[in-house]
Symmetry: D2
């Protein structure tokens, strides 16, 4: 099988995390996330984010985080607003609806929500015959690899505040967002904005794990009951703590994100140099070049990646994803092979 | 803090599992449980259980397994029958009800369901004004440490077959059951009986993970959709595969169970020798001695364990749990300290 | 088919309600319970109950009322406590669990909850591994025909207040309770006690309908969204308003309840006179005499009623239910037939 | 308040229904829809639809019908496909999602689904990371007043059959569809097509009630459990039976639909004559004329109707709804007032 640009979770984890697991393996710890490793990791995250009063909880994956956060915060008839590309709207097998809540979607060009788009939903949901929008869900980076800048986040938060909406940021790829060339906001500035967000481990060099950070007091209350009811309290919660101690020591979290982005930018530059464009502006570790189908066929012999959309004109958009583990020589080789395939095709 | 007999998930994992994680860390694998490690682990489990046609899925924890299995198999108005001590009835924060299903409970003396007890529920649920019992849930070992013998399992399965009920076995401590002195059934014989069961990793030396084994064709269908919707498909499913490759290599699964049981039996023998009885017959790695409260107070200075029930006569039942990691010298020391506390008290 | 003592909803409705439906039939009204009839009915109910600040909503049936009230008031992991005989625990096909909530039951001798019984649940639900009791559900009259006296209600409310529990009274047979010989509380005194309750129409001479009265501000909020989401907002809500205008004009509500009770007492007196006892003290329109099976067989030729429980000694408890529509001559005839059957049997 | 063209449920019911309620009021009937009136009504419906083997159930309203049918038929991860104007997608306060199911919507010009539109959803839902489309929901008449012709229904059913999708028709306004000038299909031909549909009573001259007709054996099974669990089994189910005996005697069902349509066509003709167009082709009892805002303001002094959409050019679309009870002189007067307002404006 060819080298994989399928996603950013193809490899295991940074060696530091395995070290921590090994080093702490024999210590007796209490269960369910109240162990010394989770306590330490939560402290590191409070320090790093500046959210000193936040509640921090660890769960094993992003769908679980989304499902629990949304269903904890909303009453039965309340709904969450998302971009039509939003992970919760498309790729979670109806996990949010399974908790009883509607996801109201709006079409976006670039995967980002802006107040005007959310307002279309708010303005048309006017009485008890319709659901009541109560939360806005955004992903940073978005599902199409774009990144929110500071101003976009602050105006959205302002809008939410004025309209009784929680702002929830899915940060499965927050490291990639904060280390993107398009980014203009520091972690601490970012972290102060949402009512609740999470910091992705799985897609940034951990074996598993997302760290939920809750700023809003309403959402904090009894949150562990929701974790338990959703099967998210791991008996050996210590392994989730270990992941985030690893990531937030020696800036590995940011270094991983930066490496993933830099590999993607190198790919993007090469692709552009070869004369091709993109479905969306390359800003982070997911890029969407548009290539002739014959070039794609040729590349698929040696590489793995998703075809995203057939453009119907002999070309398709593909998705290339890089990660903390992507090897630079593979990137170089991909560019060379692309150019060669283009010449032959 | 004292040495912990609180549970069987206080330590990390057997070193073999860390070795596998390290050895396979850099290989690129596909996501969501379709990687080479999960494939290998599923093969090992099919071989070990003799369930060659079974579907095998890996999830991170027991509440998650229970919730997904039950809600996948039942229609909205169907219910599951459990002992009133059953984990799903007591200790999952309403996880089953959160999927819309009632848990019908019956009181038991020893944590075990027998046809007569289930039949009380079946006989009194007669029309559409009541839920429709459709599944029987048992745990082996039970929540009070008892073990089902072969005959008990076969008559229960027969009853289920005759009454259109699925039989589901929660095997969070299946290793401890199959290596108990009270056990009289081999893995392959056991595994052929239930419609669906799972093999516990978390409480038997893995970092996390339960392996769901589905024999019944009705339950197999589209099961991965349920996993995804419940947030149970880990992006790096490989780490779950690694746990079970570890456990099912060199019989570690059984050796861990046997060690846990033997440490518990040693504790039980010492306690009995010291003149004390038990709330339930000690058969596996959870035992429930009845001790004078003053002895308990004294032991709590150096050991950690749960007080289970105050008997109101100056004595209480406590729960002592041993595991794959329990150290024999700590057990010896506990017995000695108990005898000494008893003399002084 | 014989004369029916099966239940209190065998006949249609008091003629006054049909009159109102006829009289108002051609008026144009707005939909979904905001019509003039519902407004008038709500006003009558606020006046009659003295709950001048209460929100009043009308739904079509009791299961619907229970389901909506409970799921509106509770967060996902919160539970409701009920007697094991409670309608929500037994006879609603899992309607409460279908909204995600556990019903914690306690055994009772007489169908009534007292603080000590509720406290058993509260005391054993101590952390996030278990559901969190947050509401107490009682029925007045109970499912076995007994009636709460004032002191029982006030101590229960006090307990609830002290333990952060809502008190919810299912008043499907509230008229029968308030007109029972065992009752010692007036409607206004009663109505001030619960956080939320409903006044049954269906089982007291209306075609359909229960009137929900919400005293607690927390439960009032956005309640109509819950009604809609549960399919309980009738387009022609006017027909529900009509029922309660009918019942709360000229004291029909109380007269119906009193008639049902008096017919039941007449039955009970005759049965006692014939030498038979009861499973529960006859206090309202549901009574449970214990009769020889041969007498029962004989009576079933001319009457319809439920066998409640076979006592295994040649006798069974049966349930006889009277209503606003029960005819006195049928009651007299039943007693005579019973005596005659007893002589022959 | 002005004369209402707000909806088709402003008045009570046809007098024949009140007659039946009066005539049968004192008969003792069994509860929960198994009474003689429901049996008779179900027989009338089987005869009228030609669905001799269908199961027929009565519920009180359309949201309840939609919710129960969809949640009965689907497994947790399965989804229903609807037009973005579909009642279940917009106007049921998330009732479908509250049962755990996603509604996948597609934009339509005229409120109708065609195979090509459904296929967009089917083709993009390809694995277990997404919900699995399993049912197609259409309304006839649609929410914008349009009507499906025979060919449209048969090709949609063919598509559904080929793609393992149930076809479900919301017939809240089925009478209006089958008596529309645009209709080309008879009741019996129509009724043979869907897997399940319902016949609306509430919006066609009944006090309440929708009659669910189930053709597909898979959906029939244990349906009454779903009714009970959703609070839809009325104790006095007889009142639902009475509605449909009334409607299906002497063709009242069709006469009501035809009257509503003819009043709407008269309105449409007058509006067209006055020089105005429509947002959608007037085909049934809901029409959407586009009028100058000043004309609308003037009409709102004497009539009630909804503004549907502001066109931003000084004109708006409004919705006018007629019914079985609409008076022809009010229609004439409306046209006259419209013309007059237009001259003055």
């Amino acid at each position: 099988m060819g080298y994989s640009f399928l996603n950013d979770y193809s490899e295991g984890c940074v060696p530091e995390i395995l070290d921590i697991l090994g080093r702490t393996n024999h210590a007796q710890e209490v269960g369910y996330g109240e162990d010394a490793l989770c306590v330490e990791a939560a402290g590191l995250i409070r320090g790093e984010t500046g959210c000193l009063k936040a509640d921090v909880h660890f769960v094993s994956g992003a769908t679980q985080a989304n499902k629990i956060i949304i269903s904890s915060a909303l009453r039965p008839f309340e709904a969450v607003v998302a971009a039509n590309t939003g992970h919760i709207a498309v790729h979670e097998a109806g996990a949010i609806e399974a908790t009883g809540h509607k996801v109201c979607t709006v079409p976006t060009a670039d995967g980002k929500l802006i107040p005007e788009l959310v307002d279309q939903v708010v303005k048309t949901h006017i009485d008890e015959h319709m659901v009541k929008p109560r939360m806005v869900y955004i992903s940073n980076t978005t599902e199409v690899g774009t990144v929110y800048v500071k101003k976009e986040l602050t105006v959205l938060k302002e809008y939410c505040g004025a309209n009784n909406l929680y702002l929830f940021v899915d940060g499965a790829r927050l490291a990639q967002a904060l280390t993107s060339k398009a980014n203009d906001i520091a972690m601490k500035e970012f972290a102060a904005i949402p009512d609740v967000f999470y910091i992705g481990g799985t897609k940034n060099g951990a074996l598993l794990g997302e760290a939920i950070v809750i700023n809003n007091e309403n959402i904090k209350n009894d949150f562990r009951f929701n974790l338990k009811q959703n099967g998210a309290l791991l008996a050996k919660g210590r392994i989730l703590g270990a992941q985030f101690i690893g990531l937030f020591t020696d800036n590995i979290f940011y270094r991983n994100g930066a490496h993933a982005n830099s590999m993607a930018m190198k790919l993007a530059d090469g692709i552009e140099e070869a004369g091709f464009g993109f479905m969306a502006e390359p800003e982070s570790n997911q890029i969407f070049p548009i290539l002739p189908n014959r070039v794609i066929e040729s590349l698929l012999k040696d590489y793995r990646f998703y075809r995203w959309a057939d453009n119907g004109d002999g070309s398709s958009s593909i998705r290339l994803v890089t990660s903390w583990a992507t090897k630079e020589d593979k990137v170089d080789r991909f560019i060379a092979d692309l150019k060669s395939a283009n010449r032959c095709a």
